[in-house]
Amino acid sequence: MKPVTFWRSCAASALCLASVATIAATGAGSEASVARPGPLPSRLSETGLYSDASSLTVDPRHLAFSPQYPLWTDGAQKRRWVSLPAGTAIDITDIEVWSFPVGTRFWKEFSFGGRRVETRMLVKSNRTDWQFASYAWNDTQTDAVLAPVTGLPGVAEIAPGKKHSIPSVEDCRACHDSSRTEVLGFSALQLSDDRDANAIHGEPLVNGMVTLRTLLAANRLQPGRPELVSAPPRIPAASSQERAVLGYLSTNCGACHNSNSTLAPLKLMFKQPAYGGGLGVVRAGLVRQTKWDRPGAVPETTSVIDPVVIEHSALLYRMRSRRPASQMPPLGSVTPDAAAVDHVTRWALEEFRRP
């Protein structure tokens, strides 16, 4: 077993110190246990995703969508749906914090190599709480079973020696509880009709997928805000490359690095708002010296973006790394996003490099 693989196993079991301590890390009795307003269905087929579970036909009443700046998950193919209770609408009074009606359900299906691996679900169970669940697909691809709250490591090999793991609920919440809303990929910017054609790993809008325009037309967004159609959200940028990079950073970094997160004191603001965003939002954070030192570098000389040697930037080092102690994002993927590293490097060279 390779050392890193061994360590990942250790991290998954939270018990790497058998020779030091032998207390099982079950979390039993922990106050951190996730409160569950009600039991979650034990099978995906029981969650309401399908109108015909035997043929895996998705209920046509559910709304398929695709955020314009998707999260990197090792190149997984993803499908997403939202179900809003009949006759309800999303309150978008605060354009950055959409308030979903009780009973809203989201599903996100992850496939690798054409095989479904997991489907995650969020359920708005009461006025303030969301339930998080993930379902692990069976070998015959007929249904998926509720994964334990501690997650399931190594459920599918996605590259030689690299396996996809179903994250624990705690890990899901590490990102989803870091903004003023738990829903990350369904927002004004992500569903804008002014879709970024150069978005890194951008997905095509398939017929029937909802956008701001269709949601407003169907009265699923309240109050109606015509500017969302007449002036759809768009990240202002000096170039198409910059726009795509800022969008990528917003999704992949901004979920945790935003002004409403407990990490706000780090002053790394990657989240792009629906309006009024752009490089100005993130620039101050990018030129900061980090408390994290690049391995091998003179202590306290590492910057988020190093204008002299761009390749030494903490941002790029951590994007390239998929070692537990340094990778960014710290969870959710086991292979680096080479395309994004390339995009960000080229953009940083043009924007920040100085001799």
Binding site: C16, T262, R323
Partner: protein, 194 residues
């Protein structure tokens, strides 16, 4: 003259009354303030007790060989692995001996690479000075740096500590924020070859 005396008396009386009123108005806050101070002191004391019994000094305070043998160097209490200490590469695992640690008890080598124990003092640049209580509690709960970042590496016994109550974790944080700040920039963990 009479009028002047009357005015003075009136003023004095008014001042006394105001003073009394102010004093009365102040009384509850003073009591509240004292109660708050007492509660704060109790929380710090509880945190100190927990830090002692949870063996935080075993790893977060560098060990030296003293008159009675190896012991934590309390002049560097909870300041983590000494930044100026250079270490040769750790020996690789041999048979069942998969882990090694330095004599300071602040550097640990194993399959995860080499981890260095953190500076827990309230130094702003190198310790927990800019941490919030939420960050600290979330770190212990999740086993992730600041509750969201990289995994906290061995030998930190997160598996046990995550079961502590919020009250106890907050007390520990409060105590750690009360100890002397020591500037000591602990190195970034060394990673194994992938």
């Amino acid at each position: 003259m009479t009028q002047r005396i009357s005015t003075m008396l009136l003023t004095t009386t008014a001042l006394a009354l105001v003073t009394t009123m102010v004093g009365r108005a102040d009384a509850p806050p003073q009591t509240s303030s004292k109660a708050s101070e007492a509660a704060d002191a109790a929380q710090v004391k509880r945190g100190q007790y927990l830090v002692k019994i949870m063996a935080c000094n075993d790893c977060h305070t560098p060990w030296i060989v003293g008159a009675n043998g190896p012991e934590p160097d309390m002049t560097r209490m909870l300041s983590g692995h000494p930044a100026q200490m250079t270490l040769p590469p750790a020996p690789g695992p041999t048979g069942p001996w998969v882990m090694h640690f330095a004599g300071t008890n602040t550097a640990w080598a194993g399959p995860w690479g080499v981890s260095f124990t953190a500076n827990l003092t309230p130094d702003k640049d190198s310790g927990l000075g800019e941490w919030t209580e939420d960050m600290f509690v979330a770190t212990i709960r999740t086993g992730r740096h600041q509750g969201k970042g990289r995994v906290v590496l061995p030998p930190m016994p997160i598996g046990q500590y995550k079961n502590a109550t919020d009250e106890d974790l907050k007390a520990i944080f409060r105590y750690l924020q009360s100890i002397p700040a020591i500037r000591n920039k602990v190195p970034t963990p060394l990673e194994p070859e992938e």
